[in-house]
């Protein structure tokens, strides 16, 4: 279906899918706001270790932050080339978004496995562990959904080729991806860099 067929007037002046995504993002703000507050309240209340100061690997987390920021750049470029109807560049940058997401999940797998196997911090070891895994695990789940979503868009464009160009769908997926990135910007600062505060 062409993009012209999708275009229609709405009472808000915003395309319905895009508006719905922003409402979802608003609800996700509550979710992550609560999880971050829960972490900040509980991180220093553990009776036994390990504590955040003992186990965080800030250098690796900084690398994963760079990775997620770069995937956001790839996302906005994918949308740009989708609107330009440049199939090859759109597919390339969409692939880079997926790759960035997978690498980020790899970093998270490394972090979680190090915490569990090397430091002995499980989900129920102490209250810090519970609140940390709940927050970062929830974010990781969102990244996983984003990776699957972008993969489906990439595969659809590969199968349908030039017939498939729907910038509205890519824009909505992009909003979700950027929001996941924005949440990580906050988590990186408040959870990781404020470790000694």
């Amino acid at each position: 279906m062409s993009e012209a067929a999708h275009a229609h007037h709405t009472t808000t002046g915003v395309e319905n899918r895009k508006f719905a995504m922003w409402v979802l993002i608003a609800s996700e703000c509550f979710l992550f706001g609560t999880l971050i507050a829960n972490y900040l309240v509980n991180k220093g209340r553990s009776i036994s270790g390990p504590t955040p100061q003992q186990i965080y690997e800030i250098d690796i987390t900084t690398l994963s932050t760079f990775d997620l920021l770069m995937s956001s750049v790839a996302m906005v470029l994918a949308l740009h080339y989708c609107k330009e109807k440049d199939l090859r560049k759109f597919q390339f940058w969409t692939f880079m978004v997926v790759l960035g997401g997978v690498i980020f999940l790899g970093f998270q797998y490394h972090e979680f496995s190090t915490f569990v196997l090397k430091n002995g911090l499980g989900l129920s070891t102490n209250i810090f562990g519970s609140s940390f895994y709940l927050l970062t695990g929830c974010h990781g789940a969102h990244v996983t959904v984003g990776v699957l979503w972008m993969t489906s868009i990439l595969l659809t464009s590969l199968i349908k080729g030039q017939e498939w160009f729907n910038s509205e769908i890519v824009e909505v997926a992009g909003l979700y991806w950027h929001f996941v990135d924005v949440v990580w910007i906050i988590i990186f600062t408040v959870v990781y860099l404020f470790v000694y505060v």
Partner: protein, 110 residues
């Protein structure tokens, strides 16, 4: 609700927003530099004699800049309908209110 004038402006701004990848790459470099500065501040805090208070506010300001850049330009909030900005800001303020209520109810929180 967007007016005819508003839509015209949105369209005009929209064109500006999609001017090209050059702007996105400039922003990408700035985002990476800010993240690098955050990391350096964290690493060299004691060597440079930075107090916790200064570090907290500096890092919060830097992450706020990154937040605004991603939301404003990558998510196109700067060029989209104000309705979307209002939804996002309102939900963000409510999320912060949740945090403040927990902080006030648990005074020993860090």
């Amino acid at each position: 609700m967007a007016t005819a004038h508003g839509n015209h402006n949105d369209h005009k701004h929209g064109e500006h927003a999609h001017a090209g990848p050059k702007l996105y790459w400039i922003f990408a470099v700035i985002l990476c530099v800010i993240t690098f500065i955050e990391w350096i501040i964290f690493k060299e805090k004691e060597a440079w004699g930075i107090s916790n208070t200064v570090m907290i506010w500096t890092l919060l300001a830097l992450s706020l800049v990154k937040f605004i850049m991603v939301c404003g330009w990558y998510m196109h909030l700067r060029f989209d309908s104000k309705v979307l900005t209002n939804i996002f800001v309102f939900s963000g303020l409510l999320a912060m209110a949740v945090f403040l209520m927990m902080k006030l109810s648990l005074p020993s929180m860090g």
